[in-house]
């Protein structure tokens, strides 16, 4: 079908430690909110795509449990996984199913409950975050990979420790203003730099935190998307690309090839360039990741990401406000929910519903959801009708 695909409903649980709920109970919170937001009811859903990373749940094969809990059997459901980009992979799958004319209305639920695992289980999972044959056997860790990216970026472009800290400060500044965020306190450079070492040059405050949470978006084909409770926000540019699993085969460690390729696809499809983006949610799993995103997405030139944050250009009022919801850093990172959460934030911004975090004149927005250490990147350009 040649029509557009619109987002007609969004829902989002608080992110954080949710020791009160199962993962399907979290999914229900987000789904119920998205239904209410859209004005649709359960019977209108043609399918549900779940974005989640299975290893974190004791419950196996989540879509079955979620589908039963939401009362949506016998409608189709399945899960998409692309590590930390599983949520955006689910949105992309749902978007394709509508473009294909297979479905008209699809709910996408990103959900993850990470805090039920015991420390031993988390340590074991952490030990297998990289390529397991040649890398994990040496004790590589997720922060360790991005730390190596950071050190190389510092070497090639003169990026500084202070600039990395500035990313954390910005995202906690906005997290303090987002009622759904896990961490709602501003931080200082002193506090960040005094935090424990994780993998040099990273402290704890360079890293996002495991969290529980769910987010939901409801997608609809263009004719169906009109006339509902809120005006649709359009998925106008959709990019998806990969980079190597291992740093042993990765052409460059100072940028993500997947992000550059996905951004190019998304801009081309939407017919916009980076300058036209008024607000962006990017994948700041570590402080350096946001710096790479500025560059990979073209918000600034290669190597100038450090200056971009140092000059406050990613604050509201700057050239491209980034992660004004707090980002993964302050919102928390319930893996599968993260990509969907990003999209809900950009929808809020384009609707003008973001409250004290509202970016003025936000008519073109972008999400950038990275899987793992850049193995996958999904970029969405979102627009609204004038």
């Amino acid at each position: 079908m040649s029509g557009r695909v619109g987002i007609v409903g969004i829902g989002h649980t608080p992110f954080g430690r949710r020791s009160d709920a199962t993962v399907q109970e979290l999914a229900a919170e987000a789904f119920r909110a998205a239904l209410a937001d859209s004005g649709l009811d359960r019977g209108h859903m043609d399918a549900v795509v779940v974005g989640s990373v299975p290893e974190y749940h004791k419950q196996r094969s989540l879509p079955g449990v979620v589908q039963e809990y939401l009362g949506l059997t016998p409608k189709p459901t399945w899960l998409t996984e692309a590590a930390c980009a599983s949520g955006s992979a689910a949105i992309r799958t749902a978007w394709m199913s509508i473009k294909a004319g297979v479905h008209d209305v699809v709910a996408v639920i990103g959900c993850q409950k990470m805090t039920e695992l015991e420390t031993a289980e988390i340590l074991a999972l952490m030990g297998r975050v990289g390529e397991v044959q040649w890398e994990s056997s040496f004790g590589s860790t997720f922060p360790g990979y991005y730390a190596m990216f950071a050190r190389r970026h510092m070497h090639e472009y003169g990026t500084t420790r202070e600039q990395l800290t500035a990313v954390a400060i910005k995202n906690h500044f906005y997290g303090a203003r987002n009622p759904l965020a896990m961490f709602r306190k501003e931080i200082t450079a002193e506090k960040a730099n005094a935090s424990e070492d994780v993998a040099t040059p990273f402290h704890v405050f360079d890293c996002c935190a495991n969290a529980d949470g769910a987010a939901c978006v409801i997608l609809a084909a263009e004719p169906r998307a009109r006339g509902l409770r809120k005006p649709p926000v359009w998925l106008s540019g959709m990019g998806c690309a990969s980079d190597t699993m291992s740093v042993l085969r990765r052409p460059s460690l100072t940028g993500l090839g997947s992000a550059q390729a996905a951004a190019a696809q998304a801009y081309a499809m939407a017919g916009v360039d980076a300058k036209r983006v008024r607000v962006a949610d990017v994948h700041d799993c570590f402080t350096i990741a946001e710096v790479l995103a500025y560059e990979d997405l073209g918000f600034c030139a290669k190597g100038e990401g450090g200056a971009f944050i140092a000059e406050n250009r990613s604050y509201i009022g700057g050239s491209t406000p980034v992660n004004v919801d707090g980002g993964l850093k302050a919102k928390g990172h319930p893996i599968g929910a993260t990509g969907v959460s990003m999209t809900t934030e950009i929808v809020k911004q384009l609707r003008g519903d973001a409250g004290e975090r509202q970016v003025p004149d936000a008519d073109v927005g972008l999400t950038h959801n990275v899987g793992g250490i850049g193995q996958y990147c999904f970029v969405q350009v979102l627009t609204r009708d004038e």
Binding site: A120, S137, G139, S140, M148, H155, L253
Partner: protein
């Protein structure tokens, strides 16, 4: 025999298992495609250049330069009691890269991107099972 490779091994079954036997005998080996001659390190059973599925092992020098590094404090399972340790990523002279611990011959204060390092096979005899891996050493001390 690939279960010998690494402090913690998550991939015991592989078509390049013999790599570990070579390492045990002090040889660092790459794979060479029988169809197109492409050489890969770490070795691959299937050629990255042409996807052909037959290969032979060929020795590589292990000479390289430091691309980047990090000192890991928050360690995963199996590494808790040896942390902190420092991981280095080296660009190899003959192509490819190696990720490994910076060895004892290289003081942390001397680490600098671009410095020459030598990938050095290690047989660990302090454990009950056979365990092999490699470390990144100062070239002059590599045979020490």
């Amino acid at each position: 025999m690939f279960k010998w490779f690494g402090r913690v091994n998550h991939a015991p079954h592989t078509k390049v298992a013999e790599f570990a036997q070579h390492l045990r005998e002090g040889r660092l080996m790459a794979s060479r495609c029988e169809a197109c001659g492409h050489v890969s390190f770490p070795p691959r059973a299937d050629c990255e250049a042409c996807l052909h599925g037959a290969f032979t092992f060929v020795p590589v020098s292990g000479r390289g330069t430091l691309h980047t590094w990090t000192r890991i404090t928050a360690a995963p399972r199996g590494f808790e009691d040896v942390a902190p340790y420092t991981l280095g990523l080296v660009d190899l002279e003959e192509g490819g890269r190696a990720l490994a611990w910076i060895g004892a011959s290289v003081p942390e204060s001397s680490l600098a991107i671009g410095m020459p390092l030598q990938v050095t096979p290690r047989l660990h005899e302090d454990v009950e099972d056979i365990r092999v891996d490699y470390t990144l050493e100062s070239p002059k001390g590599a045979t020490a």
